[in-house]
């Protein structure tokens, strides 16, 4: 099922990161008032890297991803900040310019492959169209041959035959593979996967995650994985952003987030997981309350009303800062001291993981 023999991960060129998102803010005007769906997100992505954005519904993770490829542009949206692909600014590009970026440089796959594929065209025809829309010099026959090759590359058996099937003749897992094949058709350098396995069974999920990993290693495809599932994150991600109410509350390497989490919200997420490889606890540790409405955000720290460790300073909006002297790349938005955090998360038992090694 592996796509290409594993080669060394492609490293980024000297000219800075592949994708840089800087102080991205996305607001929507709604009937009930202005909603700041994304409020100051910063990250960089290198070739061959998998960045996971984790959060609950309304955290701004999907809006962040959609804004990168210009899908949130509309009369009622207000976008600030910068998105640069190989140094080139995307937020100010015209729709026509963006059209050539989508697909050929950044591809996106969605949660539900049934609604993302057109039911009245064969899978092959949809891939052919994607190729010819960007490369008009490629002939129909040639594009058809490429479609077969791509379907084979993402692990669809008998691609010569299946290329002429309609989406309804594919299973859920095969549809997601077909979506990925379509995304890869123009050899993009960035893949954005928005909950790519949420609608799939676990055995199929494992196959799709393996495929994304193979593409990431084999082709150096940089990937932004958007998910609510920390199990999926642990399987494939290199770095993690944890989002809450439009803001990044913690950001670090995979091991930082799982073994030395700094923000109480991250503790809560990790603690509430059910783990098959551990004895079951009598009760699941739970975060009380519900995520806030973006129309009525609490003042100060947005997690404050649900946080068991709230103290006076939480009335101020906390910055996303490196708060661990030994780890300048591990950022979080909680004003407790690192010692307090270590003590509290052990005492409260909210992590469900061993002490950091």
């Amino acid at each position: 099922m592996s796509v290409t023999p594993e080669t060394a991960p492609v490293t980024a060129g000297a000219g800075g990161p592949l994708l840089a998102v800087e102080n991205l803010r996305v607001g929507f005007a709604t009937e009930d008032g202005r909603v700041q769906a994304v409020d100051g997100v910063n990250f960089e992505l290198e070739a061959g890297e998998v960045l996971a954005i984790v959060g609950e519904s309304g955290s701004g993770k999907s809006v962040t991803a959609q804004t990168i490829i210009g899908l949130t542009r509309s009369p009622n949206s207000h976008i600030e900040g910068s998105v640069r692909l190989r140094g080139e600014e995307l937020t100010t590009q015209s729709e026509a310019q963006l059209q050539s970026v989508r697909g050929s440089q950044i591809a996106m796959i969605f949660q539900d492959p049934m609604t993302s594929l057109n039911p009245v065209y064969t899978v092959g025809r949809q891939i052919v169209e994607a190729i010819r829309a960007h490369h008009s010099q490629v002939g129909r026959k040639e594009a058809h041959a490429q479609a077969i090759e791509l379907l084979g590359a993402v692990g669809i058996p008998e691609p010569e035959r299946r290329v002429d099937d309609y989406p309804h003749e594919f299973s859920g897992g095969m549809r997601q593979r077909a979506m990925i094949a379509m995304g890869l058709a123009l050899e993009p350098s960035v893949l954005i996967a928005d909950e790519p396995t949420t609608a799939l069974d676990v055995t199929i999920q494992a196959q799709i995650l393996r495929l994304i990993q193979d593409l990431n290693r084999g082709r150096g495809l940089a990937t932004i994985l958007i998910t609510h599932d920390l199990g999926v994150v642990a399987e494939v991600a290199d770095r993690v952003l944890v989002m809450y109410a439009g803001k990044v509350v913690e950001q670090g390497t995979l091991d930082d987030i799982f073994y030395d989490p700094q923000h109480p919200y991250t503790w809560g997420l990790l603690g509430s997981l059910t783990r098959l490889d551990r004895p079951r606890p009598h009760r699941l540790p739970q975060i009380s309350g519900a995520p806030p409405s973006l129309l009525r955000l609490p003042s100060g720290c947005a997690f404050r009303p649900r946080c068991p460790h709230e103290f006076a300073e939480c009335k101020e909006v906390p910055g996303l800062l490196p708060r661990l002297p030994e780890d300048p790349n591990h950022l979080d938005r909680c004003q407790l001291t690192p010692e307090q955090k270590r003590r509290l998360r052990e005492v409260e038992g909210r992590i469900g993981l061993e002490e950091p090694a």
């Binding site: 609950e56 519904s57 859920g172 069974d201 676990v202 055995t203 999920q205 494992a206 995650l209 609510h228 599932d229 920390l230 199990g231 999926v232 994150v233 642990a234 399987e235 995979l254 091991d255 799982f258 073994y259 809560g268 997420l269 990790l270 509430s272 997981l273 059910t274 783990r275 098959l276 490889d277 004895p279 079951r280 606890p281 009760r283 699941l284 540790p285 739970q286 975060i287 009380s288 519900a290 995520p291 993981l353």
Partner: protein
Amino acid sequence: MTDAGAISASGGPLLEVTDLVKHFPIKSGLLVDREVDQVRAVDGISFIVNKGETLGLVGESGSGKSTACRAVLQLLKPTSGSVRFEGQEIAGMGRRELRPLRREMQMIFQDPYASLNPRKRVGQIVGDQLKVQKVASGKELRARVEGLLDRVGLSPEHYNRFPHEFSGGQRQRIGIARALALEPKLVFCDEPVSALDVSIQAQIVNLLDDLQDELGLTYVFVAHDIGVVRHISDRIAVMNQGKIIEAGDADQVCEHPRDDYTKKLLAAVPIPDPRESRARRDRTASAG
């Protein structure tokens, strides 16, 4: 066929299902429908649910777990087989005969957005069954509904609100209050937390746990998330292609699965621990 009832608890069986079959015909033909084949959604399953315990039903989509629940509850007419509730055969009963039994068996649904009538107020949604079954009316009805709302973590002021005013987790609480209104003995929970956010899932699982302890409820808990099922269940039955292929004590099935399909299913569940999942990947890579 594995007998899910092999390990019995002290309470004695509340529900006995024997050789339950539900086939759906596939019809074809221009003028006259002819049955050309069948979908064997539930293909001869047997299990026992004891009083006060939770039986978890796991399996992938299409394995027949939801159809099995609906056939047991007589929401779908079983093709054949026997369903005994407190010793009484209910398979094949008519609507009228089933009505008093509906009080004893209730269901909590997956999608809290689709399973509540958007035009009814919360008080009506929760209280309607009490009225239909002539259990309570007037002031007493209102008091009971407010008590239920309080019990599931909502407040009595929510009585006159509409479902759209609530978040997903709160709506699921409304669904739970409705299911508990008639003080049922057996509650079928069909994917009750899979549509909810991670931080809310734990709240609902804990609420179901508390209600079971307090009211002595018996659950059949259906979900594809094996971690959640194992947390809440005493025993687990694994379904694949309409059959129960393995059943037993929850920890036993999860830690020492015997059937190859169960092993495959468990091995695919992501481990939320990077070191563990790397170690597992290395193991599978070296194994083949």
